[in-house]
């Protein structure tokens, strides 16, 4: 099954957008995964009184219907909070295209089906320009062929095999890994007693 992600894209050119910006901490006081859409980019989207900031791109037409972000370098840096990815997905984002992502954020995205195609700085700038055009039209990310089509261009992106596979196949890593239970037990059998941590309660 070719897996493609289609949608309108919005430019978010800031570099080093950290997970505190993506999901401010006041939304983290929760024991569920739900209800995080409003918190996503909250301080960029809303002013102190809770009114939408008209100058923020995601509050403007047509970008308010964007489902793909074109982002600056080192997006997702900072804390490990998966809430950042949950919130982006709940706000309707299916992909963010950038030149590089922080490692934990990248892995969190994979677990939640948020695609993070990695492109060169030149390609990112090109896509950023297209996304900034209100008549730019839809972007199409083809996970299988590792290409992005926007307007009249088609450009390649990078993704590692395992992440590509996980995005196409879906599935549940925890359950899949339990298929290897015997192998894990065999590994454990090779550990000496002092290599088995037993935390004092």
């Amino acid at each position: 099954m070719p897996k493609t992600i289609k949608g309108h894209a919005a430019p978010l050119p800031l570099a080093n957008v950290d997970t505190d910006v993506i999901m401010p901490k006041r939304f983290l006081i929760t024991i569920t995964r739900e209800g995080l859409a409003d918190g996503t980019f909250a301080d960029l989207r809303f002013d102190d009184a809770g009114a939408p900031r008209p100058d923020f791109i995601l509050n403007q037409t047509p970008w308010n219907k964007a489902t793909i972000l074109i982002v600056g370098d080192n997006f997702g840096c900072g804390s490990s909070r998966e809430h950042a990815v949950w919130g982006m997905a709940q706000l309707g984002f299916t992909a963010a295209i950038g030149t590089g992502f922080a490692g934990i954020f990248y892995d969190n995205a994979r677990k939640n089906g948020l695609a993070l195609p990695i492109v060169t700085p030149e390609v990112r700038d090109q896509l950023m320009t297209l996304a900034a055009d209100p008549d730019g039209g839809e972007f199409c990310i083809n996970i299988e062929t590792r290409t992005i089509t926007a307007s009249n261009i088609t450009v390649p992106f990078q993704i590692d095999g395992a992440t590509q596979n996980a995005l196409i196949r879906g599935g549940d890593d925890t359950l899949d890994t339990l298929e290897y239970a015997e192998t894990i037990r065999a590994f454990e059998a090779g550990l000496t007693d002092k290599m088995r941590v037993r935390v004092i309660k």
Binding site: D20, I31, S80, E82, D160, D173, T174, L175, T177, I184
Partner: protein
């Protein structure tokens, strides 16, 4: 073949290769906090799964708890704290909660309790898990889905990282600390410059650091984007690991936990320790720092429009003027705490500057020891008296507190802080709060001066 320390640790923990190119690695020890674990436990419940090896996990309360008093300051934090305790008791997991002498910031607690020894692999739902690299142990942060994965399988799906070596050689100048070393490294490599890499630190300026300093360096390596930070385990690491609650129970010495001579790295950086000055961050990313006797950067001709825009944005947020001398920047608050700099060594360093001096009029100064055990040790040494007499608010409970402001210690809009923490992101210590990162001694110097100040001049005055 010569191997890096990183490769040795990955090889030793590899369970098997997976068909899609990942591998399964074995997690010796896993740490949880109250805010990134609840959804992992509910995931287990939904899937009807058990914890694979409950005794290999530890849960600690640190992120949301109040530090002025023991009782939760609101219902939401109370819920998170009770939820973790209930999950741990249901699954038979060790829980160091409020009132337990072993409680505190997870990355301070773990070494203190002897739970890290060279050769271990440690995962935790927190990005600063890189701290354990100071012991020659592979520690890294994971997200909540991976917390669930470790709980259920004691393993993680893993992809080998590229390797970077950062060599810091030479003698440090007076007043220059481990915090300045790592802030310098972040400045040189760049925030995100080590995305996709494991970083190994080497060089004489690293080896001469004590364990606390090494932890400060490995801790903040995540601000480079490093997913792992490592240092060779030497005698100091083994000595420090010995004699603590868990240390007699643990021993991973199946090989030498140090890089082989001649090991090859994908990238290498060299930094001259003698060139490092005490640094302060001026901007909103940890790589935006300047020497304390320097000035706030100005736009230069070779800057790209993007770089100019970034500089402008940071200056506006921070309320600074390009070119101004950083020592003229007045502060509202001083904060000493966090997993980067709240160990006993850090408290001693700050106290040595504060002794016999007073916090400047109008400066709100707070110190939150990294763990309950550290607090008691500091009180036994009389450090609390030094802080109190200087005018610091000595907190009776430990936790992350104003490092991320998830409890009731929240800086106000526009409030400017000298802070011994690790992140100066927009909004990190409170919406609109302006954070300047620096060493604990420099925070003390700023608190006394009422503005950012050069700790080296204090030393001279002291004689």
């Amino acid at each position: 073949m010569s191997r890096t320390l990183y490769d040795k640790l990955v090889d030793a923990h590899k369970v098997c290769d997976l068909p899609d190119g990942d591998m399964l690695i074995y997690v010796d020890f896993h740490i949880m906090n109250e805010y990134t674990s609840p959804q992992a436990f509910s995931g287990l419940d939904q899937k009807g799964l058990n914890v694979w090896r409950p005794e290999a996990h530890l849960a600690v309360i640190d992120h949301v708890n109040a530090t002025r008093q023991r009782d939760p300051h609101d219902d939401a934090s109370k819920l998170l704290i009770e939820n973790l305790e209930a999950n741990c008791s249901k699954h038979g997991i060790a829980f160091y909660g409020l009132g337990d002498q072993r409680q505190g910031i997870e990355h301070v607690v773990v070494p203190e309790q002897g739970l890290v020894v060279p050769g271990m692999l440690i995962a935790c739902g927190d990005s600063h898990t890189t701290t354990y690299g100071a012991y020659g142990a592979l520690g890294f942060g994971i997200g909540t889905s991976e917390v669930e994965h470790v709980l259920a399988t004691q393993t993680l799906r893993y992809k080998r990282l590229k390797t970077m070596q950062v060599v810091v050689d030479g003698d440090l100048g007076p007043g220059v600390t481990a915090k300045d070393i790592i802030m310098k490294v972040v400045q040189v490599v760049g925030a995100g410059g080590a995305n996709g890499y494991a970083v190994e630190f080497a060089g004489s300026a690293i080896k001469t650091q004590g364990m606390a300093g090494r932890m400060t360096i490995c801790n903040m390596a995540v601000e480079l984007g490093a997913r792992a930070a490592l240092m060779d385990a030497d005698d100091a690491a083994y000595r420090m690991a010995a004699g603590r609650a868990h240390s007699d129970l643990l021993h991973f010495d199946t090989e030498e936990w140090s890089a082989d001579p001649g090991a090859k790295y994908d990238k290498v950086f060299h930094i001259d320790a003698a060139q490092i000055a005490p640094l302060i961050s001026w901007g909103t990313s940890p790589d935006q720092s300047v020497p304390i006797d320097g000035t706030v950067p100005v736009v230069t001709r070779d800057m790209t429009p993007k770089a100019r825009a970034a500089l402008d944005r940071a200056l506006t947020y921070m309320g600074l003027v390009a070119g101004q001398s950083v020592q003229d920047i007045p502060i509202d608050s001083a904060f000493i705490g966090s997993c980067t700099n709240s160990r006993i060594e850090d408290l001693r360093a700050a106290a040595s500057v504060l002794k016999g001096r007073k916090v400047a009029e109008g400066v709100n100064a707070i110190v939150v020891p990294g763990s309950t055990f550290t607090r008691m040790q500091a009180e036994a040494e009389g450090l609390d008296q030094v802080f109190r007499e200087a005018g610091f608010d000595w907190r009776p409970e430990s936790g992350c507190s104003m490092c991320l402001a998830m409890n009731d210690d929240i800086a106000m809009d526009g409030e400017r802080l000298a802070s011994s923490t690790n992140r100066n992101f927009e909004g990190r210590q409170g919406r609109g709060a302006r954070t300047h990162l620096m060493s604990p001694a420099m925070v003390a110097a700023a608190a006394i001066s009422g503005h950012l100040a050069d700790v080296r001049t204090f030393r001279t005055e002291e004689g």
